[in-house]
Amino acid sequence: MPYIEVYEVSHAYDTPSGRVAGVVGVSFGIEPSEFLCLVGPSGCGKSTLLNIIAGFLSPTSGEVRIGGRVVTGQGLDRGVVFQDFAQLFPWRTALRNVAFGLEMKGVPKNEREEIAMEQLKLVKLEKFAHAYPHHLSGGMQQRVAIARALAYNPGVLLMDEPFAALDALTRDDMQRLLSDVWRKTHKTVVYVTHNVAEAVFLADRVLVMTPHPGRVKTEIAIRLPRPRDPLSIEFLDCQKELLRHLVEPTPIGKDAPRNGGIA
């Protein structure tokens, strides 16, 4: 039985020009310790879907279950990493940022700093434990954010384009690091991206989404052995197949804009 079940989830939001469907009738499951990528162009509802799983948004209809329990709000069973570097608390050092969740749980100071330090080691930032976020580079800040989301040991890690704002070289390093962290921690990961190569490099399975309204078009399992070589023929074939699904136009008529055009 899947660990996370997304069942017939729809979400609509209000705009000045009326109600607009963001996501329509999406269903899928995620196995424990699986790395799932949601890929699609902007406006396809992948971030909305992630926010619903995170509990920041409530679905207009349908439901999300994690470990059999229906999601009704935020919870310590999920860690979240956003795209924006500004997600760290600027008034706390890296260590104290990572320790925040444990502090909320009521873990004593010594213990939580010890755990936080281990998490920082996992992302290779133990030397910067006492630096404030504004002294860290973008890539380092995102690593702190990953450590912070893992520190209170949630079963699920939700990531919303966490590396999209990084330069290409840093992004490459970060993807390897995340891959390592995932193999060491066995978290269930839901990862939103619009970068096809990133999805092929990281994921066990990729869901391709299409916009207007957002729905899942197809899913592709990536069966390449790890660590993956982005220059191998197999990798490039996977990437090509994924791109083909993304670029291929949705048959018009079937998806005719019931909901009108959406900006």
Binding site: H11, Y13, D14, T15, P16, G22, S42, G43, C44, G45, K46, S47, T48, N51, G55, F56, L57, S58, G73, Q74, Q83, D160, G214, A263
Partner: protein
């Protein structure tokens, strides 16, 4: 992230209530703005009618309003208000002229900057009202002291901002203007001054606010023959709280008009139109 809209659906820890203007009909908005005033007025009325305080000290709103009408019709209130506004205008005009001149000189010539900055920086942080007795001593009670003090106090922000503004005029503007044949006065009038204008306007706005904040107090100290400050301070002798509150209301209305009417309009016409400020 266009697909993350819908902030209204976020749970308990959702983002702060952004002041997005809701679409609501005009009269509802008016009512919503008036509601707090109606509530406060109601409380005031209840207290003043309760007899808890002496009616001379805590007059009813009717009494204040009646006093306001009486003073307005008899011409007393307009007369005092005109006195205050005249002093404000005279003092502020002096401050603007002298302050902008000094600021420009300081911004353009290093020698002037080095010479003038220390005394200006020493005198500026002292609250303006503290100079009042000194001015009264030097220039005698009355109009001269009041106008000069208002000018003195409100010139500081004008000087500082003009100086900063002139120094922040971009080098490329100067160079391109010179390349197009501008020089001397024309360079100054057509490039330096407009370039520094956002800062100068900010300085004038701050200067006017400071002038307004102390003028009423100075009028009380300087025993000027007419002026709103003197009117409300004099009313103390006869326990005329209603006169005071009517005066305070007029003072507030003038302050609001100065802020909204004068500067926002001036800014819209110039720097906002040029996209230098939003």
């Amino acid at each position: 992230m266009a697909d993350a809209i819908g902030a209204d659906a976020i749970g308990a820890a959702g983002p702060v209530a952004a002041p997005t203007p809701h679409r609501e009909s005009g009269w509802r908005r008016v009512l919503r703005t008036l509601l707090p005033f109606i509530v406060v007025a109601g409380i005031w009325e209840a207290v003043s009618h309760s007899g808890l305080f002496h009616p001379r000290l805590f007059p009813t709103i009717e009494a204040v309003a009646a006093q306001f009408v009486r003073l307005t019709v008899s011409g007393v209130l307009p007369y005092h208000a005109a006195g205050t506004l005249t002093r404000l205008a005279a003092g502020f005009a002096l401050a603007a002229a002298v302050g902008i001149a000094i600021g420009i000189v300081m911004g353009r010539w290093k020698l002037a900057e080095d010479t003038l900055l220390p005394p200006v920086s020493v005198a500026a942080p002292i609250p303006g009202i503290a100079y009042a007795p000194l001015f009264l001593l030097w220039f005698g009670p009355g109009n001269a002291s009041t106008v000069l003090l208002v000018a003195f106090v409100s010139s500081f922000p004008v000087v500082f901002n003009t100086w900063t503004g002139v120094k922040s005029v971009r080098e490329v503007w100067l160079r391109s203007a010179v390349a197009m044949g501008a020089g001397g006065w024309r360079l100054f009038l057509k490039v330096v001054l407009p370039g520094a204008l956002p800062f100068i306007l900010t300085g004038l706005r701050l200067g006017l606010a400071q002038a307004w904040r102390i003028l009423v107090g100075v009028e009380m100290l300087a025993a000027v023959p007419w002026g709103l400050g003197w009117m409300i301070f004099g009313a103390r002798e006869f326990l005329n709280t209603d006169v005071m509150l009517a005066g305070v209301a007029v003072i507030g209305a003038i302050g609001l008009a100065l802020e909204k009417g004068v500067f926002e309009r001036l800014e819209r016409l110039t720097v906002v139109r040029w996209g230098m400020m939003t």
